[in-house]
Subunit: 310 residues, 2 copies
């Protein structure tokens, strides 16, 4: 048995405009790093957390990385095994790019290897979801699944959870801008309507279907036409200062489609070249600086591999 | 200029469970036949209608086949050209399998050829939609587009109309049963809710995305899991006696998915072989006879070519 493992898990963009709660994709950077270390003394202990400004709990039962490890040890009948966890947050918390999902996935992925559990990915998913549940209070797989599987993921349904891996065009790039404000996922959910107009719902199912068709058949024009949101965006845009200014700047700079990443405040913009992705990032940044707010900009291809041992 | 043309246009299944108003596919049979004949005397005249039990008007302006021809003549500046139309209905009216769409498409397709207009298909579509509008009172393309293009069609959006041709697995078969009751499209629309729960809408956009992915990647199991409707079916099922008995019989007989065709009363069931499609037809028929009602059963592959000159 190996004694230590260090795993990177990527950030992810959920919802993807039309696909609220059912779609997401992973990006190459940023991402979180988790170290698991087997110890003689039984019990799971979080020994170090960096990059969180002191915001994350060291209680392993209440920690998105701790819970999956505890749960997997129990499942394997290995409660006596001691595990130390180090969490190195390499991306901002609560920024809408799947920070808690990345920590949960990295921990579950690492535990599966170091405990020699050899569980298939769909079972590892369940342990990662337990970590995500601690963060968001509910089982949402639209960050966890893309982070764990890599690529673009459709969660067709939740009863039972049905993960579909959608092939993506080779030349698809994502620019993300994170304006330095905080939006709590819970609050971003509470402002959503319980009911929506059937005519708006139809618009969404036309667009989700179009987006999937465009991705699989490598039709970026169709992808672009399908990245629309008439239900969630109009409500959540109010939480992000100058949102439409930022979005329009991305579109004017040539983005295929731009929308809120997860529950925000991060905003993602897709494009078909690294040059375009960089240009879009600069254009969005100018709009954020007008507010004025600080921001982080990330430019990356779609991540295809999910977590990896480093 | 050729003097006469005879065109067949196929029946079609719209909605396809999850894709209310945005999806449809054409089937090989039944279908309507339209004959157009150029005449010396100006004006459009409907000279013969068969198979309609006297239900269809001979007024070309109020007729789904007449309106597209009149409209195309006007568009081409050929108002002086005389055209005779014969309409041979080879499928039941108001049965939910795109009867009016087939007549409108056949007429527009035939007019485009005999008038030597050489309009591209997306323009022919607009003329066919004018005919369909007379029948349903609104612009719905989910029967007209599959009938005209053949195959499985996604109407991603309506502003402007955005037709996406979705490849379908070679071995996809459709069984249709038409129980002999009448459901008016207008009434079937009026009972639908204006608003739906966001959670149900999400179920639909997950399923429409899943259905499209399953069709394109030839994953019939995914197609099967995606053919679900939690919004329209529960409301419209009440209009069809023993609907769930018929549906369950189809599923028990091995159907990949079964639901209401268009606004009903026809019910479609997909399967992956002709043997299975026939067996499903027999099972559904037994349930319709229990009501008791007469019925028609059609078994066919997905139609890939749309209308054709015969």
């Amino acid at each position: 048995m190996k004694n230590e493992i260090r795993v990177f898990a990527p950030a992810s963009v959920s919802n993807v405009a039309c696909g609220f709660d059912v779609m997401g994709f992973a990006i190459n950077e940023p991402g979180d790093e988790i170290i698991l270390r087997l110890t003689e003394k039984s019990g799971v202990v979080i020994t170090k957390i960096t990059g969180d400004n002191g915001k994350i709990t060291y209680d392993p039962y209440q920690n998105t990385a701790g819970a999956p490890v505890i749960s997997m040890l129990k499942y394997l009948g290995m409660e006596k095994q001691g595990v130390e966890i180090e969490i190195h947050k390499k991306m901002p918390l609560g920024s809408g790019i799947g920070s808690s999902a990345a920590s949960a996935v990295a921990a579950a992925f690492a535990a599966n290897i170091i405990l020699e559990a050899n569980l298939p990915r769909n079972e590892v998913l369940n342990f990662a979801l337990e970590g995500e549940k601690i963060a968001s209070g509910a089982i949402h797989a639209d960050n966890v699944a893309p982070c764990l599987y890599g690529g673009f993921i459709l969660i067709r349904g939740y009863n039972p959870i049905d993960i579909i891996e959608i092939p993506v065009p080779e030349n698809l790039y994502c620019t993300i801008i994170y304006p330095h404000i905080e939006i709590k996922t819970k609050e971003a959910r509470e402002i959503l309507p319980i009911e929506v107009k059937l005519v708006d719902a139809k618009t969404h199912w036309g667009n989700t279907a179009g987006l999937i068709a465009g991705l699989i058949t490598n039709d970026l024009n169709l992808v672009s036409r399908s990245i629309q949101d008439v239900i969630i965006e109009p409500v959540r845009a109010k939480l992000i200062p100058n949102y439409y200014g930022i979005k329009n700047a991305a579109l004017d700079a040539g983005s295929l489609g731009c929308n809120i990443s997860g529950s925000g405040p991060s905003i993602f913009a897709l494009s078909s070249s690294i040059e375009s992705a960089n240009k879009i990032g600069e254009a969005m940044q100018k709009e954020v600086e007008k507010i004025p707010l600080g921001c982080n900009v990330y430019v990356s291809k779609i991540n295809k591999e999910g977590p990896r041992v480093i």
